[in-house]
Amino acid sequence: MTTTASARPVTTAGPVRRGPAARMAALGRAELTLLLRSRAALFTAVALPTLMAFSMRSLVKGLDLAGTGLSMATVLLPGALAMALFFSIYTNLVGVYVTRRESLVLKRLRTGEVRDWEILAGGALPAVVLALVQCVLLAVGLTAVLDAPAPKAPHLVVVGLLAGVALLVIGAALTAAFTRTAESAQLTFLPFMMVSMVGSGLFLPREVLPDAVAGISAWLPFSPVMDLVRGGWTGDLGGMDQARALLVALVWTAAAAAGVRQWFRWGPRH
């Protein structure tokens, strides 16, 4: 051990302060390294959405879409994008947050300059980028394979995806709050994902659900995301419906954030 430590001179004018962006970039970079070293997480995040998209294709083929105003493309494309969001962000991040908490990484990070929300957001960065890149690739790829038309209102697709990203990152933190161990994180993502798949119309459009169920399912957390993304492709989502979808997404995201504030733990339970 050499002793050449040069202490900072005792002054109040410190060196250049690191901002939130720099801190989150550093955390995101470390988290990306970890994702690339975890084969299981990488498979879930990268391969599953594509596999699901292609297996959904035969399922959608068998649907009776007459009278719903939907086509193969406007069912399959939004569903595939939603899958990419779920597997890259939600499933992945529940595990990331729980593992980092149980191995005392979050506790150690909180002793430094980085703030709580930066820890969660910085850790989510690689997952979010990966999800959005997959969305672009899937959209382009499926459009080519299905010979589908381009989205009529692309801005709604973008707004919908961003709403989905926010909801799923915060939702993953909330789910992690109720997940004790890294092992149980392989199950605890299922309930919300199942409810969203069926209720919010990931696999099957909500238009094919019985009316009573469809009425309720419109208010589920992930439904506005599907409405916006699908509406972006069909171009037939009215102004009121757009506003309502945004509002529902906002309320659910805010509620989940409040839940994270209330229940998220930064260290293991003793």
């Binding site: 051990m1 060196p15 690191r18 970890l34 506790k107 002793t111 430094g112």
Partner: protein, 308 residues
């Protein structure tokens, strides 16, 4: 004197347990202050309050003139923290871990410098999961030093280190202190406090039992002389004990224990008597008070007080 850390009536309670029950102390700039105590004495709970990890249940705490919890943005970039048990992602290498931490730290040292300080330069490419417990402690210390902190909080910094690494860490802490860093460390190694600390506080069950300069805390305790008399000799044959400076004496299983605050005088008179009378004192042991004895007696005294 420039006060860097100050607590007044500091308390911390968990649901059914008062971990810190009202403690006051100050640490001046450039001082090394040690918090000693057995497990559960409240050292870590106190440290977390100083680091701004938690809000006190009662009392106040100031670090660098600020509330470390409420004014965290003004305090955090000036302090360095090493937890008793901090975690790092097992699949990152040492260098990647330091880089991640540097990205979150204002005015961070170059990673290589931090690793050289803690003797980890050769291990920079090794993943955290392959490190020994001692190496992990040193990595933790490297991160605490990364921002060239004015105040360093070290929670049991050498626990789990082998003897050589412990001495290296002591050297490093001394060097940082020479450069003006204020250090607050907890330890249950009394030798560590004796080696490093300017002042210390001994905590017991959430309270400070005694505080002061190391030499003063030790000086409050008597020195001890023990020996065995030959079977045909009796304690009564010694010269009168009180004039020799003996404050207390006991005999147990043939071993005589004399306590004194004037070790040299008492020892001289005892040995002079033995020489004059031709008595051999078996198993003779003459020792000054140590921090260890001070510590044990304070803990014992407090327990007796509580059970009374």
């Amino acid at each position: 004197m420039d006060t860097v850390i100050e607590t007044v009536g500091l308390k911390r309670s968990y649901r059914d347990f008062d971990a810190v029950r009202g403690i006051d102390f100050t640490v001046a700039r450039g001082e090394l202050f040690a918090l000693l105590g057995t497990n559960g004495a409240g050292k870590t709970s106190t440290l977390e309050l100083l680091e701004g990890q938690a809000v006190p249940t009662g009392g106040t705490v100031q670090v660098l003139g600020r509330d470390p919890f409420r004014d965290r943005a003004a305090v955090r970039h000036r302090i360095g923290v090493m937890l008793q048990e901090g975690g790092f992602p097992p699949e990152l290498t040492i260098l990647e871990t330091v880089r991640m931490w540097a990205g979150c730290t204002s005015g961070a040292r170059p990673a290589d410098e931090a690793l050289a300080l803690t003797g980890l330069s050769d291990r920079r490419k090794v993943r955290v999961k392959q490190l020994s417990g001692g190496e992990r402690r040193r990595l933790d210390l490297a991160l605490a030093l990364l921002g060239r902190p004015e105040v360093l909080f070290l929670d049991e910094p050498t626990t789990g280190l082998d003897a050589q690494s412990r001495r290296d860490t002591w050297d490093l802490i001394r060097e940082l202190k020479l450069q003006g860093t204020t250090v607050l460390l907890t330890t249950h190694y009394l030798e560590e406090a004796e080696q490093l600390a300017d002042r210390l506080a001994i905590m017991h069950k959430g309270l400070i039992a005694t505080t002061g300069r190391v030499a003063d805390v030790v000086a409050e305790r008597p020195s001890r002389i023990t020996f065995q008399l030959p079977p045909d000799r009796f304690l009564g044959e010694l010269p009168p004990l009180a004039p020799m400076g003996v404050t207390r004496h006991t005999t147990e299983n043939g071993t005589v224990l004399l306590e004194t605050r004037e070790l040299q005088r008492t020892a001289t008179e005892l040995l002079t008597w033995a020489h004059r009378t031709g008595v051999t004192l078996h198993a003779l042991d003459v020792r000054s008070a140590s921090l260890e004895e001070a510590f044990m007696e304070i803990a014992k005294g407090l327990d007796n007080e509580e059970s009374r």
